[in-house]
């Protein structure tokens, strides 16, 4: 693969596809987005556009993450990472490291998550990108906290605070303060926690009222209650409740009611406590119902996307397999043509020349006569063999006259010289069968007929083709020796061939047999969606 400098602009078709993918994400059509980025990836790989390859991998990784497929998401991101490192793009390498870390943390592998996040932090510190640094720090803090390494969590939290102080982002700063407060609270240092929370509230008062402010007030209220200052707690919580109601922050609202119920109880206001408790229960139930709905919607979305991806994969695989089969067919037809026009024509020429001797053969001596007859006989057999082999490799009948004629010819060509009598019911094999399906059915029938002749010792065999309920059904039965399906059956190769071919048209095949009781092979192929 040729390396191109990263400054090269990707070919215009690629950037269009990229934008289409981004638009699809914005429109919520993840399956379409996946198709776009997978297409970009393939073409960029072919064109050696390393940077575009990496971009496409990143997007595919993000999509997989949305799907909840962390393993694949990590795989894509690691591919992207390799390329960014190779291109020396440390900022994006760092961001990719960060994404991988978050993915590992999402699937519960905190150890590995920590490793990647720490690496990303190193990169960000080297590049000096502060907002990336604090994100990494905050995530590292969360991981330490989850692993109960509170000291380390606190360290990361405090470092993130220092950076925020420099950046001057009040909302983010407040969020970090609240996290630090949580850690302090878990370490039993409620006063310190309260201090942090109060600072967070002060910072948030400067910006528009938001859920984070409500949460900050709620945590202040909790801390006051923890240190027994119930009146202060109630004061703060009532403020929180007011803002929560105005902003319809239902999730927080029921938690405030819960807290207020406890505080009021401690203050001896049992009626108020009871009211808050009722509100708490009502809102919590409401919330739980909504969460459930949301979870179901989420699941459905995932399911749809997964199915779309699966369909896409199957379609792609089928296209590849069909291409392989078509190439094989062409090659076989070419060999058949060569046999026919080369060896076959030569044998015919030999024969027509030898026939000139027919009349003089009557005058040959007895031994000479025998030799001549034997030569003619062998020649005849050679002619027949060449014709049969060429024909089985590639008959023009299927292309010229369709499946029905081809199957009739197939059966007719074997019926005379074997112990098996074939009957057929083919009148439905003709109409509305796509060309490729016809090819698959013909090749399968050919394989099955050959199997019957080679192994079955059947007296009779039958080929039925029926079209019903949108399916083409091929049934090939014989009354021969059969096989034990538990042993995988005879002619394993042939069977695998058939299964492979059937898969390329989304069909289904069953081999039904019992020793001494014949074999029935049923192939069902959907006619609607098959190409």
């Amino acid at each position: 693969m040729s390396m191109k400098p990263s400054s090269d602009t990707p070919e215009p078709g690629l950037s269009v596809a990229f934008e289409a993918g981004d638009a699809a994400i914005r429109g919520g059509d993840f399956a379409e987005a996946h198709r776009c980025f997978a297409g970009v990836l393939e073409r960029a790989q072919a064109a050696g556009e390393r940077e575009t390859v990496a971009d496409a991998c990143s997007r595919l990784g993000e999509l997989a993450a949305r799907l909840g497929d962390h393993v694949r998401a990590i795989e894509h991101q690691l591919n992207a990472l390799g390329i960014f490192e190779e291109l020396g793009d440390s900022l994006r390498a760092g961001r990719t490291l960060h994404s991988v870390g978050v993915l590992y943390s999402d699937c519960g592998d905190l150890e590995t998550a920590h490793e990647y996040l720490a690496r990303s932090l190193d990169v960000f510190q080297a590049t000096g990108d502060r907002s990336d640094q604090v994100r990494a720090l905050a995530n590292l803090a969360a991981i330490h906290a989850a692993r109960n390494d509170l000291e380390a969590a606190l360290d990361c939290g405090l470092r993130s605070l220092t950076v925020y102080d420099m950046l001057g982002l009040p909302a983010e700063n407040a969020a970090a303060l609240l996290n630090v407060a949580d850690i302090h609270a878990r370490m039993g240092r409620t006063e310190v926690a309260l201090y942090c929370q109060t600072r967070a509230v002060a910072l948030l008062r400067g910006v528009a009222p938001c859920e984070l402010l409500v949460r900050a007030l709620l945590s202040v209220g909790r801390s006051y209650r923890a240190i027994g200052q119930h009146a202060d707690a109630r004061f703060v919580l009532e403020q929180a409740l007011e803002i929560a109601r105005d902003g319809e922050h239902r999730v927080v609202e029921y938690q405030i009611h819960e807290e207020l119920a406890r505080v009021s109880e401690s203050l001896g206001d049992y009626h108020v406590a009871l009211d808050h408790h009722r509100d708490y229960v009502r809102l919590m139930r409401e919330q739980a119902g909504q969460e459930k709905q949301k979870a179901i919607a989420e699941l459905r979305l995932r399911f749809d996307l997964e199915r779309a991806l699966k369909d896409e994969e199957i379609r792609h695989r089928n296209n590849v397999m069909q291409a392989v089969v078509r190439t094989q067919e062409e090659e076989q037809r070419r060999i058949a043509g060569d046999l026919h026009d080369g060896v076959g024509q030569l044998l015919a020429a030999v024969k027509v020349n030898l026939h000139r001797l027919d009349d003089s053969a009557a005058t040959f001596a007895e031994g000479e006569r025998d030799a001549f007859d034997r030569a003619i006989e062998a020649l005849d057999r050679a002619c027949t063999d060449v014709r049969t082999i060429a024909h089985s490799l590639g008959s023009t009948t299927l292309q010229e006259l369709g499946l029905r004629a081809a199957l009739a010819e197939l059966v007719n060509s074997v019926a005379t010289d074997t112990g098996t009598r074939f009957t057929t019911l083919l009148h439905e094999a003709g109409d509305h069968v796509p060309e490729y399906v016809a090819l698959v059915v013909y090749r399968i029938a050919q394989e099955l007929v050959a199997n019957i002749l080679r192994h079955s010792m059947a007296r009779t065999a039958r080929i039925d083709v029926v079209q019903r309920e949108g399916f083409l059904v091929l049934m090939v039965e014989d009354d021969g020796v059969g096989f034990d399906p538990a042993n995988g059956g005879r002619a394993g190769m042939g069977r695998r061939n058939i299964e492979t071919r059937v898969r390329t048209v989304n069909g289904h095949v069953t081999f039904d047999s019992f020793p001494g009781h014949g074999t029935t092979v049923t192939v069902e192929i959907p006619l609607g969606e098959a190409t």
Binding site: H340, D358, T396
Partner: protein, 219 residues
């Protein structure tokens, strides 16, 4: 008797030589010209108004025998055309017949058949060997097996299953008795419903009774 004048178009010189020699043994046949491909054959026909029959191979370079036949027919020439070829598949045979050949013989046939074909075609009739006639029938999709079991278009196995369905055997019982999987029995049942044009299993039972497949005396 007037001799039959023959033109031969075939890209294999050895075959042309052999055939010419073979035919020269017959007193009523003269080879008056040869061509090595279809395009030559069309020109050859124009140059030999005295010829009666063009013997043409099918697979030839430049222009194949079928295209040559079409071209000659399009020119309105009354030339008789006999395909003499290695191609024995229904596809080639049908295409040749559609293009307008008067006869079709396989190259590896015996001398007698060559001569019979030439004489038949020269007399204004068509000549197709047994194999070719068979292939033509097959090109129409062959003759499906004669209808079995009274007037039912079904196989002996299907007839057997139909009778068992009519006797209220379950799919699993039928499968067990006939050493088949239930899946295969189900496929047969669905095929039967389709082939007999009924809507459901009750319809199958009705047909089994109507056609006498099962009677009062059945087990």
């Amino acid at each position: 008797m007037k001799a039959i004048n023959i033109l031969i178009a075939d890209d294999h010189q050895m075959f042309v030589d052999g055939l010419t020699a073979l035919l020269s043994d017959a007193e009523d046949v003269n080879v008056v010209g040869t061509a090595v491909n279809g395009a030559d054959a069309v020109a050859l026909v124009g140059r030999h108004p005295e010829a009666d029959i063009l013997i043409v191979d099918i697979s030839m370079p430049v222009m194949d025998g079928i295209s040559a036949t079409r071209a000659i027919r399009k020119d309105g020439s009354g030339m008789k055309i006999l395909a003499l070829t290695q191609n024995a598949d229904s596809g080639s045979i049908t295409r040749a017949v559609k293009a307008g050949v008067d006869g079709y013989v396989i190259k590896t046939s015996k001398k007698e058949e060559f001569l019979e074909a030439i004489r038949t075609v020269a007399a204004g009739e068509q000549y197709f060997s047994e194999h070719v006639k068979n292939a033509l029938i097959l090109s129409l999709g062959g003759r499906d097996e004669k209808i079995l079991g009274g007037e039912l278009p079904i196989s002996p196995r299907e007839k057997e299953i139909l009778a068992m369905i009519a006797r209220e055997f379950t799919t699993n019982e039928i499968a067990e008795r006939l050493f088949l999987s239930p899946y295969t029995v189900e496929t047969h049942r669905k095929n039967l419903i389709h082939k007999l044009g009924v809507r459901n299993t009750a319809g199958l039972v009705r047909i089994a009774v109507q056609t006498g497949l099962i009677g009062e005396d059945s087990e």
